[in-house]
């Protein structure tokens, strides 16, 4: 029976929360514009309760959607499309944000949390900022409204029934049909990073609304300066979360996807990178607004730009405009019109208000001195702005085509063929300048500088960094000019900021250390990126490949190698051996061989064919029934290097009915580098194995014979009492031949079975995929003491894999942590400043 109630309840909550946000916006608007204190308080009180009620309904929507997923109500499209019965509960949370509606819901939820915090913490600004908050909530809630007015669809509800989305004949026969299972969560998202990455990133996204609300409220209420103090800690908080969220995503991509890195300049990534970089610029100008009104004006522009870029990014990734340009854009829900209105509405409000009030914003006519921190911060903000501009210019290419089409011009512009080169050749110069500016600029924060003092302060860091970078440059033989500059600049930034940091520690002013710590983190990240991306080395180069043509030689090097099971092969300084397929069993450590378990009719259960030991402990016994993760297969690849102990990597491949072959790498992590290995191809598991014509052989006990070029020997023939899948009666007989096949230092044992059942002769062949061998036991000839076997052969099991070495990638991850420490210190300091000012 279809549970209609729960979906209707959810839909009702959506409509109520939408209406409440509109009414709350109206109340707060009246409060903000109220002339007398009494009506101001009255309207504020209304707005506050309306917003709280709105928040309660948002929580209600989330609970309802979670119950639908948790209870496997597959009559609902959201549960059917994003979940399945066997999905562990913690991944049910990820189901929320796999779909576009759920990710809007997450965004709405964070805005509710932030709004309620602001209501509690900032009474003075409550009315104007909450009016803006509530109107944003109304726009977001409208995206999941799912109602039609005069044939215009507004929003896409997460509570639609499967039968209303999918037209399938089965619904005509039985409208109450409920599928037994959902199609499941994308296996790539079944990863712990995917549980925490989207909420972190969306909290960062959502928080950009706070500085934006403050600046709009400041312009609206003519408080052109006072809006900054409360906005700064939130802007830093937002930037810290966006950075954490992005890096979690990058780390997930590194661990789970197989493009050989952590960043691919995909539009979805750029859509976070650009607002983030502009926001970082805005934080810097907001810090210096007091002394310089040019910084105030710049801050107004940058804060507004950050928020509008968030809206633009939302439009880009969710409207379907990117089409084939992105690998992980959402399904197009037909919301592009609505998203465009959202973007244009806020653009009009913000830009209009700016123009209207611009003359009243205080300004400074005096030029800033080169020896002031203002100068260095302006330079930094300019560089950041240009870096963001370049990425946006490239990412927006599909938008230009769409705009030109509106004017009847057909345009065939495509994204750059090599995105990584297109973006990094420009961004690297930005990185160099940022490192130099952040290293030097810090000196101006604490002292009044002039020419001679500056050189005194800079000479030691400059000297140290030149010496260190020369050593690194010689040891690692760096040739590229821009790389040498980035290396020197990065080391300079670390040394210079460390000098400042040591000075602060000596003075025990830890709370002021946020800036220098964050800049050390950024410089470390730049160095980590320089080495891990600039000097990543494909070590699985296939030398046997022919060059196609001379002018293509660079691109046409083959970067994959083929490994046949148990056949060692030289690759770079390693000897590689593919040792076979491994499975993942619930609660079982390590990777038991696929051969150790036997399938059962239930794909989630297998029976052990032998006992399994891990680190000397018996984990399971023969005949035990075990839970298997049926989609996952791991491929053990052993790496051996001269005198070092051998180690194995277990790259994974998943055969997914919806998505084909999905591969994830395995990474050997060393202090100074990572060794990254992924599968590129395996024999197609969906095609039946093609066996050769059977070759009959009659052999004696102990006789050696050839099987697919390997030497085999018949060791034993023994009676068996039990045969899988066959019931043996009292008159039936079954025997198995035990055949050993010797390959290098490994022995494979095959046990084909010969049966006489109800006076009929039959046999059950045994297969060894690693050797591509199938042996059948056809007959026993007692008079001659001979046994008749039949041998078939096929392609041996193989994998095609790629291995990449990434030097110093840990410097990047460590730099991220340092950056977070810096951000946190800065948030604490700026929040205290705000508290003191109230």
């Amino acid at each position: 029976m279809i549970n209609l109630f729960i979906g209707n309840l959810g839909h009702l909550f959506v409509i109520l929360s939408f209406v409440l946000s509109l009414v709350a916006a109206f109340s707060y608007y009246r409060a903000a514009n109220a002339a007398d204190l009494e009506s101001k308080q009255e309207w504020s009180k209304n707005g506050r309760w309306l917003f709280r009620l709105h928040s309660a309904f948002v929580v209600g929507i989330i609970l309802v959607l979670f119950l639908i997923i948790y209870n496997n109500l597959f009559e609902y499209h959201y549960a059917y499309a994003h979940s399945s019965k066997f999905l562990p509960t913690h991944y049910m949370i990820s189901c929320f944000w796999e779909g576009q509606e759920g990710s809007f819901l997450l965004w709405i939820f964070w805005n509710c949390v932030l709004g309620n915090i602001l209501i509690q913490t900032n009474k003075k600004w409550e009315a104007p900022i909450m009016a803006i908050f509530a109107i944003v909530q109304a726009f977001l809630a409208s995206m999941i409204l799912g109602i039609s007015i005069m044939d215009i669809k507004i929003g896409s509800s997460p509570f639609v029934l499967l039968r209303d989305v999918i037209s399938d004949p089965i619904f005509e026969i039985n409208p109450d049909f409920v599928p037994k299972d959902g199609t499941g969560l994308n296996p790539l998202l079944q990863n712990y990073w995917m549980v925490i990455h989207p909420p972190t990133l969306f909290l960062g996204y959502a928080t950009t609304l706070i500085p934006f609300s403050y600046v709009i409220a400041g312009l609206w209420k003519k408080e052109y300066v006072d809006w900054i103090k409360p906005a700064v800690p939130w802007a830093i908080f937002s930037a810290a979360l966006m950075a954490t969220g992005q890096l979690m995503g990058a780390y997930w991509a590194y661990e789970t996807l197989s493009f050989g890195g952590y960043w691919s300049w995909d539009p979805v990534e750029n859509a976070v990178y650009v607002p983030w970089i502009i926001q970082v610029a805005s934080i810097h100008t907001m810090i210096i607004f007091k002394k310089n009104h040019t910084a105030l004006k710049t801050s107004i522009i940058l804060v507004i730009t950050t928020f509008l870029l968030i809206l633009y990014a939302t439009f880009l990734t969710r409207s379907g405009i990117l089409g084939n340009a992105s690998v992980h854009s959402f399904t197009d829900l037909g919301l592009s019109g609505q998203l465009l209105i959202y973007l244009l509405a806020f653009m009009a409000i913000a830009i209009g208000l700016c123009i209207y009030r611009w003359k009243e914003v205080p300004s400074t006519e005096k030029e800033v001195s080169t020896y002031s921190r203002e100068f260095w911060i302006f330079m930094g903000a300019t560089v950041l702005g240009l870096m963001g501009f370049q990425v946006m210019a490239g990412t927006s290419i599909p938008v230009y085509n769409a705009i030109l089409e509106q004017f009847g011009i057909s345009s065939n512009m495509a994204p750059p063929a090599d995105q990584a080169i297109f973006y990094s050749k420009f961004q690297i110069w930005g990185g160099i300048l940022i490192a130099i500016l952040s290293g030097t600029g810090q000196f101006f924060f604490w002292k009044n500088m002039d020419k001679s003092k500056l050189w005194n302060a800079l000479s030691i860091p400059l000297l140290v960094s030149l010496v260190v970078s020369t050593i690194v440059f010689l040891v690692y033989n760096i040739r590229e000019f821009s790389y040498i500059l980035l290396l020197t600049a990065g080391i300079y930034s670390i040394v210079a900021n460390s000098t400042i940091l040591i000075g602060l520690i000596k003075k025990k002013s830890f709370k002021l250390a946020g800036g220098s710590v964050a800049h050390i983190g950024i410089a470390m990240m730049l160095l980590g990126i320089l080495f891990s991306a600039g000097y990543s080395k494909v070590i699985s180069i296939n030398n046997s490949g022919l060059l196609i043509s001379k002018d293509m030689s660079d691109e046409m090097n083959q970067e994959n190698v083929i490994l046949f099971a148990n056949e060692p092969r030289k690759m770079n300084q390693y000897e590689l051996t593919y040792k076979g397929q491994r499975v993942e069993l619930a609660g079982v450590p390590g990777y038991p061989a696929r051969k150790m378990v036997r399938k059962t009719p239930d794909i989630h259960l297998v029976v052990a064919k032998a006992a399994y030991f891990h680190e000397g402990k018996e984990i399971f016994n023969m005949g035990d029934t075990l839970n298997i993760l049926p989609e996952n297969t791991y491929y053990e690849v052993e790496y051996k290097k001269d005198d070092e102990p051998a180690f194995s990597l277990f790259p994974r491949a998943q055969v997914n009915p919806n998505m084909g072959l999905i591969v994830s790498p395995d990474i050997r992590r060393l202090i100074d580098r990572d060794l990254y290995t992924h599968i590129s191809s395996i024999p197609d598991p969906e095609t039946e194995t093609e066996w050769s014509e059977p070759l009959n052989q009659t052999v004696e006990m102990g006789e050696r014979f050839f099987v697919n070029d390997f030497v085999a020997v018949l060791n034993k023939v023994q009676k068996v009492e039990e045969v899988d899948g066959v019931e043996l009666g009292p008159t039936d007989v079954a025997a198995e031949a035990v055949i050993d096949i010797q390959v290098k230092n490994k022995t494979y044992t095959l046990k084909p079975i010969f049966i006489i059942k109800d006076k009929m002769v039959g046999n059950i062949p045994d297969v060894e995929n690693e050797l591509g061998v199938k042996i059948s036991f056809l007959n026993i000839k007692p008079q001659e003491g001979k046994f008749e076997l039949s041998v078939e052969t096929s392609q041996r099991d193989y994998i095609i894999m790629k291995a990449i070495e990434m030097p110093f990638i840990n410097v990047l991850w460590l730099g991220t942590l340092v950056l977070m420490v810096g951000f946190t210190t800065a948030i604490v300091r700026r929040y205290k400043e705000f508290k003191q000012s109230v």
């Binding site: 499209h77 199609t183 495509a414 750059p416 063929a417 691109e555 998505m659 084909g660």
Partner: protein, 138 residues
């Protein structure tokens, strides 16, 4: 001249440079004939060609030939002008190639063969949610 003017000019110059380089580095969507014409005229830019896998009368994909060592693949692709061309891809065959509805190849045309550096595949079932799946129905 004030310092801010100099900086302003530099910023504008960089911005103009960015726009020019974006326009210059942007690739184009073309068909095989245009790709050939471009390569004949000496252009070294990589282009995008959109099309489908070649199918026989029964709708089976034909002409996919993995290289001898399985590390490369060649296949036949029909562009949007219905021209069939051979495509060489210097990487192992993407597992979904034989199921793809739409193929985008990025690379260069040379000696009657399109050399793809990158292939983007659009599989019929990938992310598609508007069809009931047999496995889920049974």
């Amino acid at each position: 001249m004030k310092k801010s003017h100099i900086i302003g000019i530099v910023v504008i110059a960089v911005a103009v440079f960015v726009i020019i380089s974006t326009a210059g580095d942007a690739s184009t969507y073309v068909n095989f004939d245009e790709a050939k014409a471009l390569s004949d005229s000496g252009s070294n830019n990589k282009v995008h060609v959109v099309g489908q896998m070649k199918k026989d009368a029964n709708g089976e994909i034909v002409g996919v030939e993995p290289g001898e060592d399985k590390l490369t693949v060649t296949f036949l692709m029909v562009d949007n002008k219905n021209k069939t061309n051979k495509v060489f891809y210097n990487k192992p065959m993407p597992p979904d190639l034989k199921k793809s509805e739409q193929v985008v190849v990025i690379g260069k045309y040379k000696d009657d063969i399109f050399y793809a550096n990158e292939i983007l595949l659009k599989c019929p079932s990938k992310y598609e949610e508007d069809k009931l799946q047999i496995s889920a129905v049974n």
